[in-house]
Symmetry: C3
Subunit: 316 residues, 3 copies
C-alpha cells in the first residue's frame, strides 16, 4: 500500500479491523518493524488527538517521530503550480514534500478544507499535491473532505461495543457556532457503508452530504425518527455542502440531549472530539456511562498503528 | 503516589532527596522502568528549563516523550463546567485531560496564575480540573500557586552546597517590571519548612505571602537585617498577595547586589530563572563564583527524574 | 572539536567528506556513540530542512533529540551584556545557553542576520554570545553570515555527482522579492575554496560578497560569461553586502532559466531551498533531470551526522 487517505486504500476492511484488535491486545509486539524507521508528522492545522495518538502509535512500533507545524515553524507554502513566487509564499509544496521525504520513511499530513470553494476542497488540492511530490507513503491525518484515521477508530469502537451483529448506527448533524468541514461525516459514512451496520444519516434540510457519500444510504430530515431504536448515535456538525460552507447555529433543537437519547435503544453516544458541550451535546449525555468518546480517542492509537504497520510491512 | 503537585504529595522528603542524589550519580541506571512508557508534557504557558529538564529526565529513564503546546497547537480550552460552548473555546478541559490520558502513562502540565482573581488562582482551578478528568498520574510543571519541581531542585542544590548542618536560607523579594505569580516563592517556603534549614523570608510591606505558607516562618520587612549571616540567598520577585497582583518595580533598593551579598556569611546566590539581570540581581552577583543558578537548573533534571521514577514504580 | 560554525573548524575537509560518504552508506552503523546522548536544537528562526535533517542525523546515531523554538515556546531573549532588563526581554542569552547546556550533550542553534547593521551581523553576535556561555559543543544550524551544514551537504552532493576531477562550479546570484542574508553564499564560497573545484562567482554590480570570502576567487558581473562551460550552477539570492541589506528584485534577467542552463556544459542545477519558483529559477530548470535540489536536501542528514559523530567521538 502506498498511501492511506480513504477507506478505498484498504483491500479488506475486516482484515484491517482484526489486525487493529490484535495490535491493541499487544501494542509493543511489533517493534522489529519500526526500528530505525522515522515518521514525520506535518501539521498545517491544529490537532490534539491526531498529533498525540499518531505519535503514540509510532512509538509503540519502535519508530522515531518528528513533528512539525509546517506553516509556523517552517516557511509559508505555495500550493499552486506555475506561480511566479514573488509574493508571500516562500516554499512550494513540491519542494516541501520532496524534501520531507528525504528524512522520513512515512509522512503524515493534516490539512483542512477552506470552505470557500467546494470544487477546490473536494479536489483535495493540498493532499493530492503533497502526495504527487512525496517519495514515501503518506498518511492522511485529516484532509479537506475525509478523516480516515478517525473513521477507522470509530469502526474499532463500534466493533468492540456492539451487542448485536448488525447494529443501527445513526449519524446525526448537530449545531455549532462556526463553519466546520464535512470531512469527519463524509469519512464516517464511507467506512460504515463497508461495515456490517445499518447506517442512517439525519440532518436538517440543506445539510445533506455530497451524493458521492450518501448514495445508497437512508437520509432522514427528521432527527427523532432517525434516532428511534439506534444502538449508536454519532453526533457531528458539518457546514452545508449544498450552500457550501453555510452554518445553522440556531438549530438548537438538533443538540443531542437526554430526551433525544431516550428515543434510542439504550444507544451509545459517539463524537470525534473536540466537542462544544451544550451545543453539540449536553453535559448529561457526554458525561453518561453510554458515552464512548474516550474509547474512540483511545482507538485512534490502534487505528494509526495498524496503518503504520501495514506500511512498514508494505502490505495492503 | 497518584499526582505530584506539592511537597504534601511526598511521604518522606529526606528519602526523596536521597533518591534524587542516587539518580544523579547514575542517571541511566533505571531504564527498565521507563521502557515503553510515555510522558506527555502539556504547556499552556512558556517554558524553557521545565520543558527541557523534564524531557531529559524522562529520556534518562528510557521513556518516550510527547510535548504539546496545548493552546497554540491544539484547540482553545474551556475551563468552566456547564458552559454553553458557543463562543471562542473549542474543547473542554474534561475532554482534553481524558483524551491525553489515553496516550500517556504520566502527564505533566504547566499553567500559570492569571493574577486577576486571587480565590480562583488559589483554588488551582486549571490544575484541579485537569487532574479530576485525567486517568493517569499528573505532575505539576508549575501551577497557579506552586512550582514543586523547582523547589525540589532547590532542595537538592542546597543539600549539595551546604557546609553546615542547618544553614540559614533567606528568601528575598526583588523588584521586577511585570506582575509575577507567587508560585515559586510559596513553593520554596513549603519545601524549606520541611527541610533542615533556618528559613527567613524578607519582602517589602504589602508583599507578605499567604499566611497559609508563612505560618511559623520569620518574615522581616528589613532586607539587610534578614541577609545578615545568610548561607543561601534565594532571590525572587512576586506580585502582591495582599493587594492581589500589584507590583512595585520602583523598589530598586531590593535588588540583590554585591553590597547586599556582603552582609551574608559568604552566601550562595540562588534564583529559579529566567531572571531580569540588573533588576532582580546585578551582573556582578549572578556572574560570581557564589551563584548557583546553573546548578539549580541542572538539578531540575534529577528532581523530575525522581518524581517520574516514583510514579513508574508506583511508590510514595 | 569543540564547535562547528565554519569550514575552519575542520582539520581536513577530504577526511570529513570521506567520513560523510561512509556514514551515508551505513547510516545506522554508529549508534554506540549516540546512546544516552542528547542533542538540543534551538530555533530562533524558521527552519524545515535543518530542523528535520539534523533530527534525523541524531536519530540515526541513536541520540535523543529535544527541539525548541526559543523565542515562542520559551522567553524573549536579551542579547546585550550589561543591560538593565526592565523592558521586554525576559531571559539573558547567558542563562539560556548555560541552562540548555545542563540538559544537552550537543546544542544546535539557528539564528539569522537582521540585515540592519553589517558590523553586528558579521560579528556573529548571537552565535558568539551563545557559544561563550555554552558548556557543551555547539553546532551552527545557520548563523548570521554562514551556513556550514548546508555547504557541507553541497560539497557531498558535488563529490557524488561530478564527472571530472575538477569541475567548474558557478555560484550565481538570482533575484528575490525580499532581503536575504549572505550566509549561504559566503559559506558555499568558503567550502568550495577548500574543495577541488574551479569556483566562479557571478552577481550584479553592487552585490559582491565580502572580500573576506571572495579573496582569490573569480567574480564576474556578466552571468552568461560565468555560466559558459559550468558543470554545476548554484543559484542563490543574497542582499547587498556593499549597500548592506539592499535588494534588486527587478533584475529578472538573472533568473536561472533553460536558456541560461544551455550555456553550461550540461550543468547540474543546485539550490539550498526554500526557493522561489519562477523568480530564482524557472519550473523548467528545477523540475529537470539536472536538478540536484533533493539530493542536496538528502545530504543535509549526512553532513549533520558527520558533525555530530565527530563531536561524540571528540575528534577533529
Amino acid at each position: 500500500m502506498m498511501n492511506f487517505t480513504s477507506v478505498k486504500d484498504l483491500t479488506n476492511i475486516n482484515a484491517w479491523l482484526k489486525k487493529a484488535l490484535e495490535i491493541k491486545a499487544n501494542p509493543f509486539g511489533f517493534q522489529e518493524f519500526g526500528k530505525n524507521k522515522t515518521l514525520g508528522l506535518i501539521f498545517l492545522n491544529p490537532s490534539l488527538r491526531t498529533r498525540l495518538s499518531t505519535q503514540k502509535a509510532a512509538l509503540n512500533l519502535g519508530m522515531n517521530v518528528m513533528v512539525m507545524n509546517l506553516g509556523t515553524e517552517g516557511w509559508s507554502i505555495e500550493m499552486t503550480d506555475g506561480t511566479v513566487m514573488d509574493q508571500g509564499s516562500q516554499e512550494h509544496i513540491k519542494e516541501a514534500a520532496g524534501v520531507i521525504s528525504q528524512y522520513c520513511d512515512i509522512i503524515g499530513i493534516r490539512t483542512f478544507a477552506e470552505l470557500k470553494n467546494r470544487d477546490e476542497d473536494y479536489s483535495e488540492k493540498v493532499l493530492t499535491k503533497f502526495i504527487q511530490s512525496a517519495k514515501v507513503p503518506v498518511v492522511s491525518l485529516e484532509s479537506a473532505t475525509l478523516h480516515p484515521l478517525q473513521s477507522f477508530a470509530d469502526l474499532i469502537t463500534i466493533e468492540e461495543q456492539k451487542k448485536i451483529t448488525r447494529p443501527k448506527v445513526v449519524l446525526s448533524w448537530a449545531p455549532h457556532p462556526r463553519a466546520l468541514p464535512q470531512a469527519v461525516a463524509n469519512s464516517f459514512v464511507e467506512w460504515m457503508k463497508q461495515a456490517d451496520v445499518e447506517l442512517v444519516i439525519t440532518n436538517p434540510v440543506g445539510f445533506d452530504l455530497s451524493p458521492e457519500f450518501t448514495d445508497g444510504v437512508t437520509v432522514l430530515h427528521n432527527q427523532n425518527e432517525a434516532l428511534a431504536g439506534a444502538n449508536f448515535v454519532y453526533a457531528k456538525n458539518w457546514s452545508s455542502y449544498e450552500n457550501y460552507g453555510q452554518t445553522a447555529p440556531n438549530l438548537t433543537d438538533w443538540t443531542i440531549s437526554k430526551p433525544k437519547m431516550d428515543l434510542t435503544n439504550n444507544g451509545k453516544f459517539m463524537h470525534c472530539l473536540p466537542v462544544r458541550r451544550n451545543v453539540v451535546v449536553t453535559d448529561e449525555v457526554i458525561d453518561s456511562g453510554n458515552s464512548l468518546v474516550l474509547e474512540q480517542a483511545n482507538n485512534r492509537t490502534y487505528a494509526a498503528q495498524t496503518v503504520l504497520l501495514k506500511m512498514l510491512q508494505n502490505v495492503g
